[in-house]
């Protein structure tokens, strides 16, 4: 089974795509729009040249603000068979080792030197570089690369990439949900295609998007929301095909009690309010509410995911009524004590087994730069 070489259009960037820009460990979600300036890591450029290229391509930002695909195998060979010292006992940190001045470096930049080339110049003009140990040299190169690097990788959005982005850039927007924790939630919640999942989150739509990614457009998702309207910015960044949105419902929690009591009225009413446009909008809203209510009414959801700034206990106790028997639920809280309360109340109330309060820890290990 070989892959069809000429049909890789699904692997190529299209205009209008939602993508994620990456440089080192910094990510940013953007939408490809031609002739529109994008800012990323204090640089302004146009994304036009990314269209038609394969996802995962690395580009150089050249003067003028355009992207140029980088030739592969551009790994700098500054680390092979070079001189290195054994320790730093004789290295003086007097701030005088670098012979290039700030102006010199600016000149190099203006001359259009690529980031890698600037780093090479810095190495050659450092009096102490060859005395450093191999590890110190790598650390130095890594630091300079980070500062002068000019490259941007264009990635396809995914839960992995977006979760890392939000955690690095705007953790407050996602209740400080770490990506390894999100990974646990999706697996322990047995989120999979074809199921019916309820989501209550105030994580900018990231958790909703992650759930939808694992459902692949099959089954249904009901987003329960607390305020005026469901927040979906994070979900939009996933760039799902439009048919995924057909499986997504929303339901305001202010109607939960009415629904549970059988008192929710979703019939059309002949209101005299406003003109034609307003009537159409209200009818749309009513239809959506009725559709979501129909999905919830059976109280047979397959999964429940909660990740919000609200006290998790009442949220869980309220929404668990919609969950079918023998189905998992997952509640995330930034804080432990509210979850202790959840645990205790569930134990007292009964009806839940295999309760576990856990937290996930992740540690990255360092490699030599290869």
């Amino acid at each position: 089974m070989a892959d069809n070489g000429d049909n890789d259009s699904q692997h190529r960037v299209n205009e209008g795509d939602y993508v994620v820009l990456k440089r080192g460990d910094i990510y940013k979600a953007v939408q490809i729009q031609k002739k529109k300036k994008t800012v990323f890591e204090k640089q302004w450029f146009f994304l036009d040249n990314a269209v038609g290229e394969l996802y995962g391509t690395t580009f150089e930002v050249v003067t003028g603000g355009t992207l140029q695909p980088r030739k592969p195998k551009c790994v700098e060979s500054s680390a092979d068979a070079k001189e290195a010292g054994t320790d730093n006992r004789n290295i003086l940190d007097d701030g005088k080792s670098q012979k290039l001045t700030r102006d010199d470096i600016e000149t190099l930049k203006e001359q259009g030197l690529k980031g890698q080339e600037i780093v090479q110049q810095l190495i050659e003009n450092s009096t102490t570089f060859r005395d450093k140990t191999e590890f110190a040299q790598e650390k130095y190169i890594k630091k300079k690369k980070k500062k002068y690097e000019n490259s941007v990788m264009v990635l396809r959005p995914s839960c992995r990439v977006l979760a890392m982005m939000y955690h690095g850039r705007e953790p407050g927007k996602i209740c400080h949900l770490r990506y390894d924790t999100l990974a646990q939630m999706l697996t322990l919640g047995n989120i999979h295609a074809g199921s019916k999942v309820l989501v209550f989150e105030t994580c900018a739509g990231l958790v909703l998007g992650a759930v939808m990614e694992r459902m692949g457009g099959y089954g249904s998702v009901v987003q329960m929301y607390p305020g005026g309207g469901p927040v979906r910015a994070g979900m939009e960044s996933f760039g799902f095909p439009s048919h995924f949105h057909d499986t997504l419902h929303e339901f305001p929690i202010c109607h939960v009690n009415a629904l549970l009591a059988g008192a929710l009225d979703t019939e059309a009413k002949d209101k005299d309010a406003g003109g034609q446009e307003k009537k159409v909008k209200m009818e749309e809203k009513r239809k959506k509410l009725a559709a979501a209510a129909a999905v919830l009414e059976g109280r047979n959801a397959d999964g429940l995911v909660i990740a919000s700034r609200f006290h998790p206990c009442p949220v869980l106790l309220g929404l668990i009524k919609f969950l079918a028997p023998s189905r998992p639920f997952v509640v995330y809280s930034q804080y432990k004590e509210p979850l202790i309360e959840c645990y205790t109340k569930l134990r007292e109330q009964g009806g839940a087994v295999s309760l576990r309060l856990t937290d996930s820890w992740i540690r990255h290990y360092q490699h030599p730069c290869l």
């Binding site: 391509t57 697996t187 295609a193 309060l357 937290d359």
Partner: protein
């Protein structure tokens, strides 16, 4: 029932998880006329299981009761018969997310082992994905294939009995993701690269020893893989409990009328709801090394 799709009622041929309480569970193959012994007595499949809803409370012959649960890959991981050391849910969850698995993904895995990760992958890639799993031990390969059939996921997986380091995964240019859990993963990196789609993909190698990680990382770099990163993930379980803490008695700040040496004992104490960590720290399972195959 299937491991990739929920159903409501228990049927013959299903695998069900009997929950006995306090993290005590056991898997059961539901069969007409069969019986299962538990510490609470006998469960008669025909009467107590077949036709009942998953999640039902079943009273056993001795009067005690159990719950019958729908299987999930997570419950299976905790209850499956071990033929090898297995991967647990904590690692599995991170592997799933970091390899960007989702419905439709094509995945290559070696070694199949006891199928713990395999079931989790199948659940995630269903209904349109496929898992190519390679196991060099003949009996384990056969047992895995048998289990996949019983669990109604056979159509999503191909088991191959071969040595991945010598013969690869048996497919080329199709995989979105490759997972390696073998003693010498560096020997399979080239095969992993070949199995993956030309346009790129993700790879993961799981190794208990850092020396294995070093060699694998070198091999990945040599083959042009990018974003190479190694991490370790641990789960801390918090035991919720109520504790009573006695309050110290610092005595009265007024002089006593009848000075005595023995102060009146105070029974003041405070009730706290808190958690304690388990006695032992979670052990090391292995290092997870991830990388991206760049688009050519």
């Amino acid at each position: 029932m299937s491991f990739v799709e929920y159903s409501e009622f228990i049927q013959e041929g299903d695998v069900a998880i009997i929950f006995l309480g306090h993290d005590s569970m056991m898997p059961v193959k539901v069969q007409q006329g069969a019986q299962t012994q538990t510490r609470y007595g006998v469960i008669r499949h025909s009467k107590d299981l077949i036709g009942q809803r998953f999640g039902t409370k079943v009273t056993c012959s001795k009067g005690g009761w159990v719950y019958v649960l729908h299987p999930t890959p997570e419950l299976w991981t905790l209850n499956l018969p071990h033929r090898t050391q297995i991967l647990y849910t904590t690692d599995i969850a991170n592997i799933t997310m970091m390899l960007e698995l989702k419905p439709g993904s094509v995945v290559c895995e070696s070694g199949t082992g006891s199928g713990s990760l395999s079931h989790a992958i199948l659940r995630t890639i269903a209904p349109t994905g496929h898992l190519h799993t390679v196991e060099f031990h003949q009996q384990r390969a056969e047992k895995a294939a048998e289990e996949f059939r019983e669990h109604r996921v056979g159509h999503l997986v191909t088991v191959r009995n071969q040595d991945v380091c010598k013969e690869g995964f048996g497919v080329t240019g199709v995989a979105d993701a490759v997972f390696l859990d073998i003693p010498s993963p560096w020997e399979a990196v080239k095969h992993a690269k070949n199995a993956m789609k030309r346009q790129g993909g993700r790879v993961c190698s799981f190794s208990p020893c850092i020396e294995q990680v070093q060699k694998t990382v070198e091999a990945l770099a040599d083959e042009g893989f990018q974003e190479i990163s190694t991490l370790e993930v641990l789960l801390r379980v918090h035991d919720v409990r109520s504790i009573t803490l006695p309050l110290p008695d610092f005595g009265s700040d007024q002089p006593l009328e009848t000075p005595t040496d023995t102060p009146v004992p105070s029974n003041a104490s405070v009730l706290c709801k808190t958690t304690t960590p388990p006695r032992d720290m979670a052990g090391h399972t292995g290092y997870l090394t991830f990388a991206t195959k760049p688009s050519v």
